[in-house]
Every structure is written in C-alpha cells, then in structure tokens.
Amino acid sequence: MHQFKSLFIGCTLLLSSAGLVFAGNGDTLKAVQAKGYIQAGVNGDLFGFGKADQKGVWKGLDVDTARAVAVAVFGNFKDRVRYTPLTAKTRFTALQSKEIDLLTRNATQTLGRDTSLGLDFVQVNYYDGQGFMVPKSLGVKSAKELGGATVCVLPGTTTEQNAADFFRSNNMDWKTVTIESTAELSQAFFAGRCDVMTSDASQLAGIRASSPKPDTYMILPDIISKEPLAPAVRHGDNQWKDIVNYAVLTMINAEEFGITSKNVDEMAKSKDPKIQRFLGVTAGNGKALGLDEKFAYNIIKQVGNYGEVFERNVGVNTPLGIERGLNALWTNGGLMYSPPFK
C-alpha cells in the first residue's frame, strides 16, 4: 500500500512543480520591476560562460548578457541579478515554471525547442558548433578517422543527437559513454575511458583548459553541427522578449560603431545622428521598449560592447583561448550583425 501512497505524493509533487502560468504581454517586466531584480538561469559549471569564481563572483559571457538586461531595466546590475545554476535537463522547465525570468545558459536554438517548449529565443550571443577532442597520442587528424572509437558524450543536449547523426551518415561504428556531470565525464576521458570526447567546441576548450595536461589534447578541426547559443524567454511576453533581444543587440551595435566602455562618454558627444539615437542623446528608442532612454549608454558603460565581453570571458587571452571566428562582426567575416537602432 505504501507504494501507492508514495506514487500519489510523487504525482502531487510533479504536478504542482509543473504549476505553469501563462505569460501575458508585459507581465515579466512588471514582475521584475516589482521585485527589484532579475532571476537569471545560468550554467554554473561552464568556465567562460557561467561560473562563479573562488570569491563567489559570477563570471562569463552568459552572465554578462544577463547583466546587460539588468542594466537595461534598472540602470545598473549591482544586486540586480540573481543567478540560478541549471543543468541541461532542468533549464527549460525552470523558465516555463517562472522560476527564472531569463535563460542565459548556452542553449542551442532549434526549431523543436522554439515550437514545443513554450519559449522564444532571441539574438544569438555565441555561434558555436560541435567538435571532437582527442589525446594527441592517438594520432587522429580528422573526425572521419574515428570509426570504432569509444566516445564520451554529455547527455541532455543536442550533442548526443548530432554525434549519432555524424557517425550514422559516415557509416562508422562507435560506442558511447554518457555521464551526467561534466566533471565526472572529463575525469573518465582524461583517464582514457574514451578515445574521444564530443561537445560544443567552446565547452571542449573549457574542459581542455581544466585538464592536468592541456597540451596533450587537441580539438579536431571538424565541426559537425551548428549550435547558435541564444538567450531564451517565455513565449507570449513580446515586450520582455524585445528588451532582452535589444540588450544583446546593443552590445553588438556598440562594437560596430566602435563604442567601448572606455570611450562611451566621448562618443555620447558625437554629432553623428545614428550614434545620438543609439546612445539616447536623441530620445525615442527607450520609450519604444518601455525603458530608460539611456539604456544603451548604460549597458556599454557598465558591461561593455560585445567584443569586450567576448575577449574578457573566452577570448585568446583567457585560458580558453578562443578566436572570434564566427563570432566576429559581419564586417570582419563573422556573423554578428545588428539591425539599426532607430
């Protein structure tokens, strides 16, 4: 009998935790302003994207994106963002159930997620792709030579599916070892349980940097998937979606104009009408979004432009050492492109 009882309790917990509430237009902004902070879902365990340092200060590209949104809403980010570390499994449920207001946790935008999870993705803040990492001693130069290999895979992402597609389409045999936690999986990989590890290239760079001997591992040149990592908001609140979207775009647009956190005060005196509109010297953009007219100025001043944020968190001078690549501005051969702010 007690099994039935525990089933019943289980059901109740399950259903009450899924106590989903419909997001109406403008609800999120009002709720956020009323409580005075933004609850952001982040990775919590991914160096360069979302991880707290030894002093408990959150750092990363995704963390800075959440801060930019907070600056847009409140004018500053100090104590205005609270972070919820989420696993790949729990991230979308947390957004659906209103546990968080904003998801900035290296989530890949896909059609399936956009349509069936009740959420909307905004401007991509990192263009990633899935790659393979191998020990140099293996002597493998291309992912096409991996037939018969044992592959360490992180579960709960698009990674498992991409890897399966890749091996299937190339008619190669393979074996998977799938472990829930990144730390455990990396340890198994470094000890030689698998020949190969696969994940998003940015993540592999982070894991490689955390290894005892980073130089003995290499990331293969093959990129087997498109992983546009984008912040996400609940479906149905278009105003909030606009705010998050333009907070990200502000950082990209600032880089296009050459505006940095250092020179933003000077640029505010610019005679260029485009820059005057962008920085709120000429009013209009802020009102349209329901924000302060100086929101773009504040984001650049306090968080920086996209280039600054990138270099600070994952760029070539960090342990991750990632080149701009696809994440360069469109004027430099990358994909970062902002629509005009007018």
């Binding site: 259903l15 074996k175 340890q187």
Partner: protein, 393 residues
Amino acid sequence: MVTTNEKSAVKTRFWNDEKTRGIIYQVVTAMLVAFIGYYLIANVQDNMAKQSIASGFGFLEKEAAFEIGEKSIEYSAADSYGRALVVGVINTLKVSLIGMVLTTMLGTIVGVCTLSSNWLLSRIGTIYVEIFQNIPVLLQLFFFYALFYEAFPGPRQALNPVSGVFISNRGIDFAVPAQHFAWSYVVTAFLAACVIAFFIARWAKKRQERTGWQFPSFWVGLGLLAGLPLLTWVVCGAPTELDIPALKGFNFQGGQNISPEFSALLIGLVLYTASFIAQIVRAGIQSISHGQTEAAMSIGLKTKHVLSLVIFPQALRVIIPPLTSQLLNLTKNSSLAVAIGYPDFVQVAGTTINQTGQAVEGVALMMLVYLTLSLLTSVFMNWYNKKIAIIER
C-alpha cells in the same frame, strides 16, 4: 406492543450502521482522490496548451536519433524512442536481477560469518558490514568506477591474464563460442535439465516424506545439468571454434564485453546492499532460540544440518519481509547508474525528455516502470513468504 418496541430498538438509522458508514467513507475518499487527480492533470494539460508546450505520448514512435552505449536487443539511432526506452528498461532489469541474486548470496554468507564462532571470520564479517553500510552508495559507485578506469591500462596495453581474456579500461573482453547451431540446442538442453531436476527433487522429497527413503537428488540434478548439455554438444558435432576478441582500431572487436560502467554499478550495489542483508540474516538467525540448536544437536544432526534443516527454515520467516525491502532498494538505487554512465532506464528517459521536452510524460513513464518493478518484486517475495510460513496442520 412489546414486539414493536424491540423492533425499533434493533433498527438503527442507516448512517449509524457501521457497515454502511464504512462504505460511505470509502466512496467519499475514492471520489476525493479521483477529483484531486483529475484537477491536477487537467490543470497541467490546460496550462501546457496555453503555453503551446507539446503533450501526449506520440513522441514514443518518433525516431530517437541517439545512440545507447550498451544494449541487449538490436537498437540503432534510427529506431524509435519507444524502443530506446525498452533498451533502458532491459538494462535496468539486467543489473537489478543479477544484483538481487548476488547480493542475497553474499549477504547470507556475510551474515552467517558474523555469527561464526571463528574469531577471524566473525571480525571480518563485522568490519565488512560496518564499512559498506556506512558509506553512501553513490560514493561507492564513483569509487569503483574510478578504480576501473584509473587502475587498468588502455586497450592497446590490455592485461591478458588467461588466453582469450583481456582486461583494460574499456572493460573485460573475453572469448565466447563462435556462432554454431549447436549452441542453441545446448541452451535448450540446459533448460530442460533444470526442469527435470526440479521434478526429480520434488518427487524425491515426497517419497522421503512418505517412506523415509533418501534419494541423492542433488547429485543426480547436478549430473543432469552438466551431462545433458554436454551430450547435446557432442551429438551436434562438438564445435570448438571460439570468437576471440582482437584489437582492431581503437577497441576490441568480437567476443563479449562487460563494460566498466556495468561492473562498477553491479559491484557497488551488491556490496552495499549485502551489508544490510547480512544484518537482516544475522538478526533472523539470532531470533531463533538457542534451545532449537541444542535440541537439533541432541537428536544427532550434523552441524550443517542443524543450520539447514532447523535454524534457517525458521529464520527465513523473520528474514524475508525486510529482505524484500532491501531488494526493492537495490532496484531503486540502480537509477544512480546515471552518475557513472551506465545507460539504465533513467538515463535513456532523461535523454528522451531532453530531446522531446516532454518532462511530464517522461517522469510519469519513469514512475510507472519503477512502480511496476517494485510491485512485481513484492508480489514474488510475498508469494515466497506465504510458502515458507508455518503450515498449520
């Protein structure tokens, strides 16, 4: 007048009737539970529809498009989510069933050891119980898994203790007989021998009860189990060809592989659960009064017969109910597999939830599967418990 008075004294209002009242309470409770259930489910469905979150079990037929590390039935990424989940259930069953058998055996041995009059044996038993009972099972799993991949060399430097057996950090690869039609007959012969041995044992027991004549059913059974398959093998042409694992590319190909994940999970679960079973067995044996032992010895039974004919049958009645709950625990703990990469049901269901986003349905399936496994185990153990209960004549 007197009769009517008596009648009204006997007649009670129907809501005061104990039986009717009982029924009313039960109906009200059932309706309340049904209503709460309906309300919760309808609420979730309604809200999910409002947020345009997909629902229903249609996803089970869609292509899974992910690979599973270990499978006992044919499965590829092109198969459906439904089949992937079945692979997961089989993996859970595999580790649970083997685990239950091994842990019961080990637990019984350790339990008897702790009571042994041999100082060393009883100390070893006690130390075993104290160590494994008091370390969280998850830590034990991490430990055994790390032991496997840290302690053993890579496949290219695999240990080769016996010809045809290779031990590396990819698991244990060993030779198995190559495919031949004889082997399926040998398996059939073995199963047939099991059935025959069972009936012989039953017949022998009945005859002994009737006449007192003993029959060496154990040795005859053993002979059958070994002899019948051997005879079949010889008749079918005695194939001796082996499928020996060989290093090709990155890994061993051919033969049979036992993965480090499976081994670590099995060892961890068995050692942990056995420590609890040992305590249960010890308590069960101690619950039988010493007079029973003395009485059995005084009629001249050998020590092993004292244990097997007098003490154990009585102790089992105390042992079985708590043993059932430990075996259930083992099944439930097997879901910790996800931490060390064994693709059990929870892991496969987790991936399914992730790819389809249908958490409510996925979690409901998980609960259903574990509930079914637990209830089946309970039913079996309750049947066994009834069977060994005191038969009052």
